[in-house]
């Protein structure tokens, strides 16, 4: 138990006691619950009960900003509503012999509290559209990355199959004999927008990069391009976020973002390893493969 929690619980007990003594137990109770709600939310990040670090992609940063904007608006709303509520509970808790005020409502108030939230809500939605369109509308993608997807990611129970085009080639819709394959291990060059083609072989899955705030369902029968940009060098989690069967929880992959040159080298190594027939040695085989692709080498 951290000292904070001890102080919090002692404080709560004191408030409730005071409430009970002054015959205001219920206002104290509900007031406390509201204060505790806000309080624990303030403390949460220090326990890492919060976003898993800052977003590591530009889109993710924008999403975080929108998240915080809504957080501020809703927190203000929450506090305002509860201040009014608790005040009402304190001020108007029942006294014998007192009659409530006789009022059926107020037209002016209704108008105000319809228009103000309407404006806020409309503002929120209009403010969000731009980011959404850049995330989902293919036409707004970076032209180069749109035309040169780095890989095709095919989800299946319960793994991610990744298909890269051979170095120097373009990714084709149909698998090519010289394509390169890995499982659960997606490499991309960092610092530039990349596009992957997302597909599913069996049921629904969802391609989720929590640290980049990217998520897209993989839908059988469809190919969905997903654009993201890794702003880090290293490894991050790739999570399946759509229930896909009993093994959903273990459908775990890895995203490795590396320098462009290292990425190219990674692909070349992959190519060498993949065409290694185990006899003639990787290097020789790589040369042979480039000349005459051998289809049977590919899973």
């Amino acid at each position: 138990m951290s000292p904070w929690l001890i102080i919090l619980s002692l404080g709560s007990a004191a408030v409730l006691l005071a409430g009970a003594l002054t015959k205001k137990f219920w206002p104290a109770f509900f007031g406390l619950s509201a204060v505790a709600t806000v309080g624990i939310s303030v403390l949460a990040p220090s326990y890492r009960w919060w976003l898993p670090g800052g977003a590591q992609s530009p889109m993710g940063t924008e999403i975080d900003d929108l998240f915080y904007m809504i957080l501020i608006i809703t927190t203000v709303t929450y506090i305002a509503v509860h201040v009014v509520l608790i005040t009402a509970l304190i001020k108007f808790s029942g006294k014998p012999g007192v009659k409530a005020s006789f009022s059926h409502g107020s037209h002016a108030l209704e108008v105000v509290w319809t228009i103000v939230p309407a404006a806020i809500l409309l503002f929120i939605s209009l403010y969000q559209i731009d980011v959404w369109m850049r995330f989902r509308n293919f036409a707004t993608f970076n032209r180069h990355s749109r035309e040169n997807p780095v890989a095709e990611v095919t989800a299946r129970q319960f793994e991610w199959r990744i298909r890269y085009p051979a170095p120097g080639k373009k990714l084709m819709q149909k698998p090519q004999p010289d394509d390169l394959y890995t499982v659960n291990d997606l490499h991309v060059p960092f610092g530039e927008p990349v596009v992957i083609q997302l597909r599913s072989e069996d049921v629904l899955h969802s391609f989720f990069l929590p640290h980049l705030r990217i998520k897209q369902d993989a839908v059988p029968g469809a190919i969905i391009p997903v654009q993201f940009q890794a702003n880090f060098e290293g490894e991050q989690e790739l999570v399946c976020a759509e229930l896909c069967g009993w093994g959903h929880y273990k459908m775990r992959g890895q995203l490795t973002a590396q320098r462009k040159s290292e990425f190219d080298k990674y692909l070349r190594d992959l190519q060498a390893r993949q065409s290694d027939d185990g006899v003639s040695g990787g290097r020789a085989a790589a040369v042979v493969t480039q000349a005459t692709p051998k289809a049977e080498n590919h899973p």
């Binding site: 808790s93 629904l204 059988p220 029968g221 896909c244």
Partner: protein
């Protein structure tokens, strides 16, 4: 005579007038009813309502036990669960396998939604309250009403049975997205368990269908003289609009259910795209669309979430006004906002599918319509505050539960705003943030509202009060434990913890959330045990509660003019309605309430202020 009144009710009331017999006499018509006719296959709306209530309370236990299974796994993964484990899934050795985990949350949600929340609102309170509050002697179609209760049992049976068939119960989540749920090989639970699930939901659908046609007819056509539309209590308005929602949204789910059933059994391919190889089975032929199910499902299930909320909103409005001893603030805006929520509810279903890969332009429109649906909710919230403001608040058990409703609904509603914003939803979709959101609205709002309503109308059901102290203890424990269980889910969601994960700690970035999850699990266990207080209070009070008269809360509604409990036929004499149900604190009256039936002679009227 009123008992066996034919559909033509005008006759029945003529009888009433001429005889004017006391309430309990109205039992003694013509022939005696057998025990079965009276308590089992009863066509009396009050008996059916109470049958629904007790059934749903028991189902709450079942759904809760399944939830505790879920929670146990999240705190102590793959370890033997004490007590409940042995009782409920002994064949697993009390241990939860990943397959079983998927079945647990699927059936938890299925039980909670289809067997608890919907039937407790519409079935229990709808049945019990509608005729009493509008001054009718029964529903328009009593036999249909009875059938609607008994159609729930096959569903309970099939859901229960599904745990024992090969492969186990349905495991596709309560949303059952195909192809997972359409292809038998896709998951163990996608075998016969899935078929049974679909059959069960169809039964529930038929049951709700019969209920809602009945409610609509009753409310439209059987109101007592003087009960104009705008004199109806909010509960009735909410029930009425809920019935409309139900009637026009549910058939779509039923139809979709038949389609997926056909996909599973006779080889159609509505939801199964061609060319899939699932679990090494032969490639599928055909060319259906996987997303089509999501559209059809949410076309029902989004309105359904309001079906799971509006009646509670109505009942809470009644309780808040009664215990603030003050007229409801903004009656008409309240009615219009219920209608607006219902109307908009039909055009926002796509907000569950932002990330599904549907057309991005649709995402945008659905975002705007979803934001707009928060508006009537805001109007309602502010009107509740306005009702309490200036009141003379009495902190009875129904009242504190209603206050909790308002407070929790605001939390749940505000988290809805995060998800309604599409870019933010990209990140929080399918994380525990969503789980937090809907438990706040479903449990925090609706279920607390129901707890309040149970305490409030209990005296009308049995002529006795529930124990107030026990009610308050139940409330305090439930409220605290509820918040301890579900508020941290917002943090889990923000930390990126996906839902429906049998073992989240498989991912290193979630490992540090284990202690928090253990805390939540223990809170959930406490909350579960707190429900025994409610049950004990409920059942013991039937026998031992303090006896009360017709109107223990000094409320205005018609139901309080009937005897407690009302006899067959409800009212001693046909009530006549002179005003709306919220005329509390009327100036120039000795008391602070003014029943809807109270007649004021013309010469006195000038002195008494009139409401609607």
């Amino acid at each position: 005579m009123s008992t066996h009144a034919p559909a033509d009710t005008a006759h029945a009331h003529d009888d009433h007038d001429s005889h004017g017999h006391a309430a309990h006499d109205s039992h003694g018509h013509g022939h005696e009813l057998s025990f079965f006719q009276k308590y089992v296959f009863s066509t009396d709306h009050k008996v059916i309502g109470i049958q629904f209530l007790i059934t749903t309370l028991l189902m709450l236990m079942v759904g809760g036990a399944l939830a505790l299974g879920v929670r146990w796994q999240l705190a102590y993964r793959f370890s033997t669960m004490p007590i409940v484990g042995q009782l409920v899934f002994a064949n697993e050795g009390g241990q939860i396998s990943p397959e079983f985990y998927t079945m647990l949350f699927t059936m938890h949600a299925t039980v909670m939604i289809f067997l608890v929340i919907i039937p407790i609102l519409a079935g229990a309170f709808g049945n019990f309250l509608i005729p009493l509050m509008i001054g009718a002697d029964d529903m328009a179609f009593p036999t249909l009403n009875m059938l609607s209760y008994w159609f729930m049992w096959p569903a309970i049976f099939f859901f229960g049975l599904s745990f024992f068939v090969e492969g186990g119960a349905s495991s596709g989540g309560w949303t059952n997205y195909p192809p997972l749920s359409a292809i038998r090989a896709a998951a163990p639970g996608s075998q016969d368990g899935q078929t049974l699930w679909l059959i069960g939901v169809t039964f529930i659908g038929v049951s709700s269908m019969m209920g809602s046609v009945n409610y609509m007819t009753t409310i439209i056509n059987m109101r007592a003289p003087g009960m104009t539309l705008f004199r109806m209590p909010m509960t009735i308005w909410a029930m009425f609009i809920t019935a409309i929602l139900q009637a026009f949204a549910l058939p779509v789910l039923t139809a979709a259910g038949f389609m997926i059933l056909a996909d599973r059994t006779i080889g159609t391919c509505f939801f199964i795209p061609g060319g899939l190889t699932v679990n090494n089975t032969p490639t599928t032929v055909g060319g259906g669309q996987a997303l089509l199910w999501q559209h059809l499902f949410w076309f029902y299930s989004h309105p359904a979430v309001y079906i799971m909320l509006l009646p509670a909103m109505g009942m809470v409005s009644d309780m808040l006004s009664c215990f603030s001893r003050k007229p409801l603030f903004g009656y008409k805006p309240m009615v219009y906002s219920i209608a607006a929520i219902a109307g908009l509810g039909f055009i926002v279903w796509g907000h569950h599918m932002f990330i599904s890969g549907m057309n991005p332009a649709l995402g945008m429109t659905f975002m705007i319509s979803t934001m707009m649906i928060a508006l009537p909710s805001a109007v309602k919230t502010f009107n509740w505050l306005g009702t309490m403001w200036g009141g003379n608040i009495q902190f009875t058990t129904p009242m504190i539960n209603s206050i909790a409703f308002v407070s929790m609904f605001v939390v749940g509603g505000l988290s809805g705003i995060f998800m309604a914003a599409v870019p933010v939803d990209i990140y929080i979709h399918d994380t525990y943030f969503i789980v937090a959101h809907f438990h706040y609205v479903l449990f925090g709002a609706t279920l607390f509202g129901c707890f309040g309503a149970i305490h409030y109308w209990f005296p009308k059901m049995w002529g006795r009060m529930m124990n107030e102290t026990a009610g308050k203890i139940h409330f305090v424990i439930s409220f605290i434990a509820f918040n301890f269980t579900f508020f941290p889910m917002h943090f889990l969601g923000a930390a990126g913890m996906p839902r429906r994960l049998a073992d989240p700690y498989n991912y290193p970035y979630l490992e540090h959330l284990l202690p928090l999850n253990q805390f939540m699990t223990w809170s959930a266990i406490v909350m579960g045990f707190a429900q025994f207080i409610l049950l004990a209070n409920f059942f013991l009070s039937i026998k031992y509660g303090k006896r009360v008269g017709r109107n223990p809360w000094n409320a205005n509604g018609l139901e309080w003019t009937a005897p407690s409990p009302p006899g067959h036929g409800n009212f001693d004499i046909l009530p006549v309605v002179y005003r709306g149900p919220y005329e509390y604190a009327t100036p120039n009256l000795d008391v602070d309430y003014f029943p809807q039936t109270q007649y004021v002679p013309v010469e006195q009227r000038v002195n008494v202020a009139h409401g609607h």
